[in-house]
């Protein structure tokens, strides 16, 4: 599916996740956040950076990883991205929804 965000045409899947990370930039991130009713604060961006870092290193994202990172608190993560924080944060960060094997 094609979609226009921050004056840019981007490709997303049926759940709204970006199909091509190279199409992502901060403005796109802001627009995606708006659609989730989230206003991004500097703390949100720190989380997004953490997520990108994990993604670039091909390390799986998990609540455990966040807990272990020592930098972030899981409760805070829930408060910043209410209702499914990993799902919302990855959507805004422009990377695929975390997968878990069956």
């Amino acid at each position: 599916m094609k979609k226009v965000l921050a004056n840019k045409e981007i490709d997303v899947n049926e759940e709204g996740y970006l199909l091509d990370f190279t199409q992502w930039n901060k403005e796109v991130g802001n627009s995606l956040a708006e659609e989730c009713d989230i206003v991004l604060t500097p703390r949100h961006w720190e989380f997004i950076e953490y997520i990108h870092d994990k993604y670039n290193k091909e390390e799986p994202l998990s609540i455990r990883g966040i807990k272990k990172s020592g930098e972030f608190d899981v409760k805070e993560f829930y408060a910043l991205f209410p209702g499914g924080p990993l799902k919302k944060a990855t959507l805004i960060a422009g990377i695929p929804k975390p997968k878990s094997c069956i």
Binding site: S62, V74, G84, S100, C101, I102
Partner: protein
Amino acid sequence: MKKLIILGAGTSGTMMANHLVSKLDKKDWNITIVDQYETHYYQPGFLFLPFDIYTTKQVKKKGKKFIPKGVNYVQEKIELILPAENKVTLESGKDLNYDILIVATGTKTAPDETEGMDGPEWYKSIFDFYTYEGAKALRDKLRKWEGGKLVIHITEMPIKCPVAPLEFAFLADSFFKHKGMRDKVDITFVTPLDGAFTKPKATAALHYLLEEKNIKEVTNFNIERVDYENNKIIDYADTEVEYDLLVTVPTNMGDALIERSGMGDDLNYIPTNKATLQSIDNENIFAIGDATNLPASKAGSVAHFEAEILTDNILRYINGEPLKEEFDGHANCFIETGNGKALLIDFNYTHEPVEGTFPFPGVGPLSLLKESRTNHMGKMAFRWIYWNMLIKGIHIPFVSATMTEKGKNYEEAK
């Protein structure tokens, strides 16, 4: 004389010992396998033990019986792996040197990772069925339980045999029906995932089972703690689920040995090349089964497919040939749905569970993604196959290590 050491004599290690003993030249190679326990458990049987479908005798045997002649069997706890020195230290302080190491130490439950889980109510109103002790304690509990809220819960992914908790829910439904007390039991399935079935295709095909059996679902539940004083589990979003009987699958982690040796990820799994099974950090260390970090299911059937490919790659490594990049994450598992029926699913790294027939395209006799009695017979026969063929490394006819697309309606996984 060169030395090959296998750590762990569970499903994977035992299979590797049996494969390699006939492939490596006895004049050149000495094979040793180490495990801490005398007993080899048939873990898939832990699903049936709580419901008195299997007896304790059917799920455990002496491990040594399955280790072939020509392989040294050491029963001792492994203390440390020292990759830089090509050496393993045992609990007694004894060192074993190796030229090639295969790590097959599996994964185990870690209830202490969750606050309140293995506290005073552990094995009183809170149980696991992923260990022999847990499954047996739960059996004793279920024999006299009078009903109430039964909550079946997954702490976090990944877990081995990811469908087992759901099978437990289905079997519980049957169990209480047969006891004539289903109306006294309220069954809820609580998962950190989006749904009870994690693959979209399976969800679409199988959700009816939950409705049919009146099993409630709580999804996206990431547990923070067990409030054992007030009988409820609480997640990070402050959602609460009450229970009278909590059957949980605690966090699954690789053995602490891997952490002590500095060889694992967050969950003590060994970073492993997903196509060749060579460890990422050391070219003479290979990993198989539940001990790896592969994005495949942690299941005996997967380990079985891996074993064939790993055997080939060990021989290639010895001969200085490039490794085969062949493992595709192939998994197939039976899903027990209760009332004497089961489903069979078949999938790999890139393909969603498929519909169709197995193992013969278009013929079966097992049907994929559909409930049938034949599939249930297959699941029950698996115990025999496990003890008599699988861990002995005997090729199971018609079942190939990589997935075939013939006779199946498949869809690329996204």
